[in-house]
Symmetry: C2
Subunit: 390 residues, 2 copies
């Protein structure tokens, strides 16, 4: 097991009706800016419920809607202007990963004096923490299970054609309300995306090389098995509470630092996927579904031990040669994504050989020339992965 630091102070309130805790969770005299996305929280009544709860104490409440998927820097800077003008001292993100990620940027940018006028510097290539010393406290009400943003301190912001990480130890949400029922009205494709996103978050921290980390491996396998059990069910039957609850909690646990503590991490699938989203607008999760099987086929040698462990423990594949077992596990993974209605080829997204070269140039521009848990995925290897996925 590798050395690690694990710290996660977010207070999780999980289950039916937890919205009723909101008045106890947000400071009674706060100036609150509610942030949200394209308006689904207006249609399904969640925003109105949030406002009713906040109105139970003498808070000043402002709103900022319109945070788009893959939240854009100029949009978020408009929210920063509101937060600065109104001297907001609490941010309440109501939505999914994009709203929460964007709100983390707002939380930092609003109070980061050193960065006034050059807020784009708060975004960083690679995963170096941004050098900030404070942020406005954040709470979240989650309406889309996928990114785990509700229980971590990171986010991804789109800056021009770049998808860039933003994070700081100051942007752990103070609390997150996770009521699976708030997610019932999501379109099926967003639920399917959430299943894939959670699945691939897990494998990025698990399909690497073994370091004898029993708890981490088995917890990762437990998340994957649970997602396989409930994935199709919660897409097909959105009001099955237990299936949805399992998706929501697995989604959070997949990216809150727990399963990645003390083990190698990959994240090359995400890095290549970010370029696909930035250049071609492919949904984040759908880039992951395309790249994961291809990555494993190309990297089967480097990831052999963990792919065999994955085959055995997640898919109960014990028969055949090592190569056969690995192939069977990859095939099972593809079948699982397909069962959710998610495609697994670049051609499904009209990306061809020319598109691959654009993705490669994007990776080069962002310094993504030595990816993976071993730092050995050069641009040439990334190209092979993309060609495998054509």
């Amino acid at each position: 097991m590798l050395n690690f630091n694990f710290y996660n102070p977010t207070n999780i309130l999980f289950g039916k009706g937890q919205m009723s805790e909101l008045d106890n969770l947000v400071p009674k005299d706060a100036k609150v800016l509610i942030t949200y996305g394209g308006g689904s929280v207006i249609k399904n009544g969640v925003l109105a419920n949030v406002k009713t709860e906040l109105a139970k104490s003498s808070r000043e409440v402002f709103e900022f809607g319109g945070i788009e998927p893959n939240p854009k820097f100029p949009t978020l800077m408009k929210a920063v202007e509101v937060a600065r003008a109104e001297k907001v001292d609490f941010l309440l993100a109501v939505g999914g990963g994009s709203v929460m990620d964007g709100t983390k940027f707002i939380a930092i940018a609003t109070v980061a004096d050193d960065f006034v006028g050059r807020e784009e510097k708060l975004m960083t290539y690679g995963f170096a923490p941004v050098p900030v010393s404070s942020a406005i406290p954040i709470g979240t009400v989650v309406t889309l299970p996928a990114t785990g943003s509700e229980m971590n301190c990171g986010g991804v912001v789109t800056y021009g054609e770049d998808k860039l990480p933003v994070f700081s130890p100051y942007t752990y949400p103070k609390f997150s309300i996770l009521d699976p029922e708030l997610t019932y009205t999501l379109p099926a494709i967003q639920v399917a995306n959430g299943v894939v996103d959670s699945f691939v978050h897990t494998v990025e921290q698990y399909i690497t090389y073994p370091v004898k980390a029993g708890f981490q491996d088995r917890t990762s396998e437990g998340i994957l098995q649970t997602l396989v059990e409930v994935g199709k069910q919660t897409v097909d039957d959105p009001t099955d509470y237990d299936a949805r609850a399992n998706l929501v909690w697995c989604s959070t646990m997949a990216l809150n630092g727990l399963i990645g503590a003390g083990v190698p991490q990959d994240w090359s699938i995400h890095m290549i996927g970010h370029e696909m989203t930035a250049l071609f607008g492919v949904d984040h999760a759908q880039t992951l579904a395309v790249l994961t099987p291809a990555m494993w086929r190309i990297r089967r040698k480097q990831k052999k031990e963990k792919l065999l462990q994955y085959a055995e423990r997640v898919w109960n594949i014990n028969a055949g040669s090592e190569d056969e077992r690995i192939d069977a596990a990859i095939h099972k993974t593809e079948e699982f994504f397909h069962s959710l209605g998610i495609k697994t080829r670049l051609s499904d997204h009209a990306i061809d050989a020319t598109g691959i070269e654009r993705i490669i140039r994007g990776l080069e521009k962002h310094g993504m020339v030595a990816l993976s848990e071993r730092g050995d995925i050069t641009l040439d290897v990334s190209r092979k992965v993309l060609q495998e996925a054509l």
Copy 2:
């Protein structure tokens, strides 16, 4: 899945050499009281290392040693006197569960104005939180993996013949240093006790009834499987780093709130075991090893679904009738405890029918008359469990 609240703000620093972080973790100008037990931390040099690290900044450092296993109220009150007299503002527990538990009591009792002169009121029958509003911040350096106290807010204090819980949301350690190498010098029996303690912490939150909580069930199973894998190995070969690291991390994860969030919890084995320790001085873990198989035999009907799941997923027992599979799983559990050198009968501890009646009177005195995840373990059922364990 049941509704739940999960909050755990302890900062974990895990691995070799993490002691070097101590100077960054304890406030530079703190008045620190180091608390420890019977002196093993003097012999193995851990206390000296702690003091060297603390001396790197201008702290005032005091010491209080002699906290015994099953820490006693009068002992802890002596530490409270020191902390009050020296106006200590940080407590650093260096040791195992008893030192950490006792330090939580000291942290509350030192500053709990309402309780001055009646500090015993801070201990509580059952699990109602004590009504306190502050505590001295605590850090821990863990030398014995077992209780999980390093990442939760609870403890158990012995008051006369009573073992009583103490806890408050203010007593989560600010940080815990978990360096598996610091545990190498433990006697084998204490390591074995730690394996059993972690195992039974897990089953108290798992062998109940199913509520479709996929993550929680599979994470519990992962802890149990990992303990089975490494248990005997880490008792027999104390300097095998990875085996010990897996024990240490499983021990923490078994009782930090994670696996119990959103599922029913039992704890009747612990409640009966506490009486055995208070009355007969049996090591805590050894009471659990005696009571767990007996509890499952008596409660096989109420726990049927989870016992069958445990048989299948932890022990790979798939053949035979339901009763046969349950019996096989209980037998495997006993064999596992025996492999660690831990006995599983009351008679191994010279407790007979008369002793059982004393335990029953203890349970009655402490109001433990409706135990278990269903609240249906009366004194008569507890008696049956104890008789089964004779």
